[in-house]
């Protein structure tokens, strides 16, 4: 991000301040991004949905809705409900499948000058491997993010990402199935997040992203039924930010691979908190629903924060929390 002379021709004023635009670029898992702001899987559709609201070229990277090898219908409605400063979702990983994605959606995305990262999942290790293989070496795909917050159907529905052994198995298997940069997306529903960050590192993943949603529930006291047809769902939004920030801080100290911070980021201030505790990039999820221009607003806000603090490079704040 070179130097930009600002204000020099603005309305022919006498103010001729030379302002150096801070360098926001980061390299995560071998992926060069213009800035550390990515979208979070499942909250940005297949990307195109947001094109009427923001210039997709401005994003550091776009992470798309989780893909499986075959299309998935997802859970019956109601699938979402609001909670204090948060929301629960049990979409059930509805998606059109990796093949359809490549045919129908990817061509629309290729024209944008941003990195496309695909979030993948499966019900079993072979399924994870299958989707990774389908997407490997497809033009326009820069990296994969593995969602391990999925139930392992072969092992009685236990979630991959909450058991060290299965987590290690699925990450290693996917690692061997693709040469793309690999991000392990961790589940927060664990006693010790650092265990799983280390497992990701040891399995050869190039980065970890966290957090996925916290498992939650809500009940409609009028009908006495759960608010979600699926009974439980994933909690996201500002409510979870303190938990996410704590886990990102812990994970950043535990591993050398880059950590991507996710969870309740609504504003640039929130994003900066994550960068300060060690995240090298952030993902914006639920905020997109509330404010479709959230990502771009956050990029601009981070830039302003750096400028205001006379910092020229985003790396000057990453991990710089004062303890």
């Amino acid at each position: 991000m070179g130097e930009v002379i600002k204000g020099s021709r603005v309305r022919g004023q006498r103010v001729r301040k030379t302002e150096i635009k801070p360098d926001l670029s980061v390299n995560i898992a071998g992926i060069e991004m213009k800035n550390p702001v990515m979208t979070a899987s499942g909250t940005f559709g297949y990307g195109i949905e947001y094109a009427p609201y923001i210039d997709l070229n401005r994003l550091g990277a776009i992470v798309l809705k989780g893909l499986s090898a075959r299309p998935r219908k997802g859970n019956p409605p109601p699938r979402i409900c609001e909670t204090p400063s948060g929301m629960l979702n049990a979409i059930g990983l509805e998606n059109i499948g990796a093949e359809a994605f490549i045919k129908e959606k990817l061509p629309l995305l290729r024209k944008y000058d941003t990195k496309i990262i695909l979030n993948i999942f499966g019900d079993s290790i072979p399924e994870y491997v299958e989707v990774a293989e389908i997407l490997d070496k497809v033009d326009g795909i820069t990296g994969l993010e593995i969602n391990i917050s999925c139930p392992n159907v072969q092992k009685g529905g236990m979630v991959f990402g909450t058991d060290p052994v299965t987590a290690s198995e699925v990450l290693t298997a996917v690692r061997n199935a693709t040469s793309l940069p690999l991000i392990a997306k961790l589940s927060p529903n664990v006693t010790d997040i650092t265990t799983f960050a280390k497992i990701a590192e040891d399995s050869g993943c190039n980065a970890v992203s966290l957090i996925n949603t916290l498992l939650g529930m809500a009940v409609d006291i009028r009908t006495r039924r759960p608010m979600l047809a699926n009974i439980t769902g994933g909690l996201s939004g500002p409510a979870i930010k303190p938990v996410a920030l704590r886990m990102v801080w812990q994970a950043s100290k535990a591993v050398k691979i880059p950590v991507i911070g996710i969870g309740g980021i609504m504003t640039a201030d929130d994003a900066i908190e994550f960068l300060l505790v060690g995240a090298r990039a952030v993902q914006i999820g639920t905020a997109n629903f509330v404010n479709p221009t959230a990502t771009v607003d956050i990029i601009e806000g981070i830039e302003k924060y750096l400028t205001k603090n006379n910092l020229s490079d985003i790396n000057q704040i990453i991990g710089r929390v004062v303890i």
């Binding site: 499942g42 909250t43 940005f44 559709g45 949905e49 947001y50 609201y53 809705k65 219908k73 997802g74 019956p76 409605p77 109601p78 699938r79 979402i80 409900c81 609001e82 204090p84 400063s85 948060g86 929301m87 979702n89 979409i91 509805e94 939004g237 500002p238 409510a239 609504m266 639920t286 997109n288 629903f289 509330v290 404010n291 479709p292």
Partner: protein, 258 residues
């Protein structure tokens, strides 16, 4: 998008009318489309709330007619004239108007009247349109917009559950009775209201072979097709209420699953 609040009136009881200056929505909105409103500035409530476009005015304003039902609408009702509303729209697919049909039956349950006034205005641009309104609600205080429909020369049928205005009973019953005398073929039905009512209207219209469009509600996360939170079961799998609807051909909906 920002839209200045030009007026914000409490009609009766829990009903409010909000007038916003929005050239963009004025220019683009079609009947049945909706907008997502941010009802507060903090993170509780978090999500935007969907509201139908109720009316467009030549001064580039739009109107929203709403009822207080919970936290979000209560907060919305406190916003005062002069402030900017944070709004996204118009969104979704509105009612399809078949130019060949001149007889239009609009059926509303309670606040379901909101999108139908805009539709009636649009239909009445064709001077040969004949509009019949069926409007049902619990009490007479829940019967809104009658004057507006009168001005459009609509034939008006009203029912209330407690008989405080019009016929006592459900509006679908009143509609059923009127269908009995019906010979005319070129009629379209448009309906908005609670799911149980819509199911019944669909059944009655289908039995007579009348085309019927319904505007559905669902909890919405994004309003723009990104979260997959708002689906309803359709004949061919899940349909997103926000981008595949909110107006659906009644025949496309899996009524048993609603």
């Amino acid at each position: 998008m920002k839209a200045e609040i030009l007026s914000h009136l409490n009609l009766t009881g829990p009903y409010y009318k909000l007038k916003l200056y929005s050239p963009h929505i004025y220019k683009n909105a079609m009947p049945g489309q909706f907008a997502m409103l941010r009802v507060g500035e903090t993170s509780d409530p978090l999500l935007r709330r969907p509201f139908s476009i109720h009316k467009k005015n030549p001064d580039k304003t739009i109107e929203i007619l709403y009822k207080i039902v919970g936290k979000g609408t209560r907060l919305l009702s406190t916003l005062v004239k002069g402030k900017d509303m944070d709004i996204i729209g118009p969104l979704g697919n509105g009612f399809v108007i078949d130019k060949k049909i001149k007889n239009h039956i609009l059926i509303a349950g309670g606040i379901g009247i909101a999108p139908l006034l805009f539709l009636a205005h649009e239909l009445s641009r064709d001077k040969r349109s004949r509009i019949t309104l069926f409007l049902g609600a619990r009490h007479k205080e829940d019967i809104l917009c009658i004057q507006n429909f009168k001005r459009l020369k609509a034939r008006i049928n009203i029912s209330t559950e407690d008989g405080s205005l019009g016929k006592q009973g459900l509006i679908s019953e009143l509609f059923e009775v009127s269908l009995a005398d019906l010979n005319e073929q070129k009629i379209a039905v448009y309906s908005c209201g609670p799911n149980n009512m819509l199911r019944e209207i669909h059944r009655l219209a289908a039995a007579k072979g009348l085309p019927c469009q319904v505007s559905l509600e669902a909890r919405m996360g994004c309003g723009i097709g990104a979260c997959l939170g708002c689906v309803v079961e359709g004949k061919e799998g899940y349909e997103k209420v926000c981008t595949d609807g909110p107006v659906f051909d009644a025949g496309e909906v899996e009524w048993g699953r609603l």
